[in-house]
Amino acid sequence: MDGQLRGLARALGWEQYHQPDGKPGEEPYHPGDAFFRLPETTLKSVALKIRARLKLNGLRLIGAPQTKARKVGLSHGLILVPELRRLLQAQVDLVVIGEPIEWEASPYFQDIVASGQKKGMIILGHAASADPGSGEVARWLKTFITEVPINWIPAGEPFWPPKQAQQGRP
């Protein structure tokens, strides 16, 4: 099982929407088992919900705000073009990712949109996408280490946006 994927799905409240691929011999949330079917909504409304739920300041988005978001592919940490292509090949409407390289995966996605495909990308930030997976590690350790207290300490998002700082909420 990809604990990072599982942890992020749990943090987003998306376990109920998971569409396991049912690959023989694999548990749910094995690497690549990263697809979710949301109640029909839009890129912008999904992004607003994620921002509120994960308490993030640094979300970045690509795609038209009203893009329909039913099938979603989820990724964490750095995403390279091959992984992005695998998500897109599954006919997703939306990809939710950690960190793209801005001359690789994000312009690939910009070109997908410019080619006429109605798709959206939500960029969480590397730390934001990987933090919940560390919570998953703590949860797992507790199942076989019972003698010592185990806590997850979220690293938190490293940055703040300038406007909010001017309003005094860094």
């Binding site: 970045r60 988005l61 073009v81 960190e99 001359w103 590397h126 940055f159 703040w160 700082a165």
Partner: protein
């Protein structure tokens, strides 16, 4: 990530060699009209740079990426990145030579073999062929100009020319301000919605260095600057290094802007320069534009 890049470098060298063979054969084909070819535009750039003391590098990403270099040029578009959107706007504006600072095919060396069966790659190539476009990259040698055209463009856009100290055009000393105020200034001057900041908003700032993508260079810059301006850095190295540095009590900050917001502006100056080298051809800058939007 080092190994694939080494092999890509090797591949680039091979394609350069085969490109050199093409150059001698095709450049002598009879002219259909008086318009110069894309290859001749590039030769003028190379000649002009040589006059400025910048020798053409044997290994460089500054090569033709798509289209036939012997195409007659009707118009030139310079841009930060030859995204499909930029190519569409160039074609609509009658600019068939696109001079791009960054890659066309989503990797630094513009290798394409892994995309041979990719529908997006095919779509982009078809668009280029259908509109008779030629794409040439101008990265290594525009950065080699003195001063660096790309970062002088950024400096001018920020209004920081008056803060340059000494010979290094990437170091600024400015009247004291705060990190929050400086970040707000960068955000509005660069017209970017995706600026991100690390450090205490009230941090006092006078020394700023326009730093780098790489951790090593950012660490070196942080030794001498209060704040570094960074156009994209990896979030698990430079960003976390600075977070730890500030946690240790060091009074430092980072203004992180999109790669595009960092390097877009010099390509406008590039277009002005090209007009002097190829005055017979219309040439314009097509901004790639901020790639991201935010919830505000």
């Amino acid at each position: 990530m080092n190994d694939p890049h080494l092999s890509r470098r090797h591949f680039t060298r091979l394609s350069l060699l085969s490109g050199a063979g093409l150059l001698t054969g095709a450049a002598r084909s009879p002219a259909q009209n008086n318009a110069i070819t894309a290859r001749q535009v590039v030769e003028r750039i190379q000649t002009e740079l040589a006059k400025q003391g910048i020798a053409w590098r044997a290994q460089t990403v500054d090569t033709f990426k798509a289209g036939d270099p012997d195409t007659r040029v009707k118009g030139i578009a310079t841009t930060f990145m030859a995204t499909l959107d930029v190519l569409q706007r160039a074609a609509a504006a009658g600019k068939n030579l696109v001079i791009t600072h960054e890659p066309t095919f989503w990797n630094h060396f513009d290798t394409t073999q892994e995309f041979a069966a990719d529908p997006l790659f095919q779509h982009k190539m078809d668009f280029i062929a259908r509109h008779n476009l030629v794409v040439w990259r101008f990265h290594d040698h525009i950065h080699a100009r003195k001063p660096d055209t790309i970062f002088m463009g950024l400096t001018k856009r920020l209004g920081w020319e008056r803060y340059i100290t000494g010979d290094n055009t990437r170091r600024y000393v400015m009247p004291e301000t705060t990190l929050a105020a400086l970040a707000g200034e960068a955000q509005s001057r660069l017209k970017s919605v995706s600026v991100r900041v690390i450090g205490d908003p009230q941090l006092k700032v006078t020394r700023v260095i326009n730093a780098s993508h790489s951790l090593d260079a950012n660490i070196a810059a942080l030794r001498e600057a209060d704040v570094i301006l960074v156009g994209e850095a990896r979030e698990w190295d430079s960003i976390e290094y600075l977070r730890d540095l500030t946690a240790l009590g060091h009074r430092k900050g980072m203004i992180l802007v999109a790669h595009q917001s960092w390097e877009e502006w010099g390509m406008e100056d590039c277009a002005l320069w090209l007009r002097t080298l190829a005055p017979e051809i219309p040439c314009e800058w097509i901004p790639s534009g901020e790639p991201f939007w935010t919830l505000g």
